[in-house]
């Protein structure tokens, strides 16, 4: 008798908790979705300013999400990576427009300026945030290289947070797929892009994540 009462109370409690959870999720999800759409809108403006011929930020975010989920990212960690991927080049909007839209290769001074965009992006986002958040930090490090020769901080290997390492691969994949104002499309197929990712594993990219991408790639069956 006592056990039955206990079970009944337990079932009622679990039902109530589940109800509260779904009610809460229903309340928060649309906000999250709206927020995500808003970020996506901002990202598309950045893409236009950068001179991309496609929705670069969205593509980077989708690739980053694919790698991150396969690597076990979830919850807030995954949300932070997606937001950072959408906004990774936001610092470029603060650079002179002629650098972004030039049809020529950048000279040394322009390259130096261009390389400040992760810092500008981080600084501007951080200045608007009250609580500590990793999104600005991920943006800061999306051009770091596994071998320590990236920028701005020359972080090396595991020093680079995993989210930034994933973003670096996703950004490179997208950049290789499309042309820019100053260069034509460099790779003919996903297979060629994957060969370059493999070649740069352990140099530009985290070798473990590069290997993971090679399994996830749309061309995986052909590799």
């Amino acid at each position: 008798m006592l056990i039955s009462v206990f079970n009944a109370v337990l079932i009622a409690l679990v039902t109530w908790l589940a109800y509260r959870y779904f009610e809460l999720r229903e309340r928060t999800s649309p906000t999250e979705e709206r927020y995500s759409q808003f970020v996506s809108g901002v990202a598309s403006i950045v893409d236009r300013l950068e001179g991309y011929d496609a929705a670069h930020s969205l593509e980077v975010a989708q690739t980053a999400e694919k790698i991150a989920m396969a690597d076990g990212f979830e919850g807030e960690q995954l949300q932070a990576l997606k937001a950072a991927a959408m906004l990774h080049d936001v610092g470029e909007t603060l650079l002179p427009r002629e650098i972004l839209r030039t049809a020529d290769r950048l000279n040394d001074e322009q390259t130096y300026l261009m390389r400040t965009h992760p810092l500008l992006g981080e600084l501007h986002l951080k200045s608007r945030m009250q609580a500590p958040d990793e999104v600005p930090a991920i943006i800061r490090w999306h051009h770091e290289r596994w071998d320590g020769l990236g920028y701005p901080d020359n972080l090396k290997g595991e020093e680079i947070p995993k989210a930034a390492r994933i973003l670096a691969i996703a950004d490179a994949i997208s950049a290789m797929r499309h042309s820019r104002s100053y260069r034509p499309k460099q790779y003919k197929s996903q297979k060629d892009i994957d060969a370059e990712i493999e070649r740069q594993a352990g140099l530009q990219f985290d070798p473990e994540l590069a290997a993971l991408w090679l399994k996830l790639s749309p061309a995986a069956g052909n590799n």
Binding site: E76, A137, R140, D147, P152, D153, N154, G157, E159, R199
Partner: protein
């Protein structure tokens, strides 16, 4: 593991006073200083570890171009027949760390470097080996086929070095002096990247392997002891009673001191308790004020970066 963020460091100290030079009594990794080496700031860098000081010289003070084409042609040879393993001083690393082919090249590159007359050129060549070791050690087992042959990766690393040193103008002095013997000149800022005693990372393993290779032996325990010995009283240990007298002595003539470290798996509150408060107490006779800055890196694993600035 430490993420030194030089621009953040300058922002933090910039709120207190401008700096035209920075003294690093012990830097943790040469390439982390790249951003500062391109600024109009004089850098005084010291590493008590000879192999690390050599790497910094090769990467940060080479302004007149990289490895010459003539030397590249002469010293970046392809080994066509496997070398006699018994002759190889690194033979005990076989399979555990490197393949036979890689060991052949490690032996050949070390010997070939002694044939290079110009010391700067020799150090650039050795420094490329550091990059190659890093590549081989960290990509071992992950990628099905490494598409670059040893001579190709050597050429690639030397080319990277050439791009890295291009346009560097800052004034940089690099020394290799034991911390106890290091003279402490007047300086606006002394920076201490904090190193933790119990930390084993890819980078610490690489530094150990490179140190052994640089000294021509395969004894990693010996290399580890050498490095630890050079860093004694600088390494932070949570196990022992803190003794920060080395830090205080090295900051004796600096207007400001900044400590930087990266933490994970522990909340900021614990770092405040275990590092910030003891450091504040140690530096209290030298500096009247201090300020702690921290940044979130990955809150899911309590990863934060810290800067602790002391000033008068």
């Amino acid at each position: 593991m430490l993420r030194l963020q030089s621009s953040w460091l300058l922002e933090a100290v910039g709120e207190i006073g401008g700096v035209d030079s920075i003294f690093f009594p012990c830097f943790h990794r040469f390439s982390a200083l790249s951003w500062l080496s391109r600024k109009e700031i004089t850098l005084y860098l010291n590493s008590p570890i000879d192999s690390q000081a050599m790497l910094a010289r090769a990467w940060l003070t080479s302004r007149d171009g990289g490895f010459s084409d003539k030397n590249l042609l002469k010293f970046n040879q392809v080994i066509k027949k496997p070398l006699e393993l018994e002759m190889n001083p690194f033979k005990t690393w076989k399979e555990r760390l490197f393949t036979s082919q890689q060991l052949d090249y490690l032996f050949y590159w070390r010997e070939a470097a002694y044939e290079i007359d110009d010391e700067k050129q020799r150090e650039i060549f050795w420094a490329a080996v550091y990059q190659i070791l890093s590549y081989w050690l960290t990509s071992k087992g992950f990628v099905g086929r490494q598409t670059l042959e040893p001579d190709q990766i050597m050429a690639f690393c030397l080319e990277q070095h050439r791009s890295f040193v291009k346009g560097r103008t800052g004034r940089i002095e690099i020394s290799n002096i034991a911390l106890d013997e290091l003279a402490v000149d007047r300086n606006p800022l002394v920076a201490f990247p904090l190193l933790f005693d119990d930390e084993e990372t890819h980078e610490t393993e690489l530094q150990t392997v490179f140190h052994a290779w640089f000294h021509g032996h395969a004894d990693l325990e010996q290399a580890r002891r050498d490095i630890k010995n050079c860093l004694r009283r600088y390494l932070i240990s949570f196990e022992k009673t803190p003794d920060y007298s080395t830090f205080v002595r090295l900051a004796a003539n600096a207007d400001m001191a900044v400590l930087c470290w990266s933490g994970r798996d522990l909340p900021p509150k614990l770092y405040e308790q275990e590092i910030v408060e003891p450091m504040r107490s140690a530096f209290s006779s030298r500096y009247g004020r201090s300020r702690l800055f921290f940044k979130a890196v990955d809150r899911s694993i309590d990863a934060y970066d810290y800067l602790l600035v002391f000033h008068s």
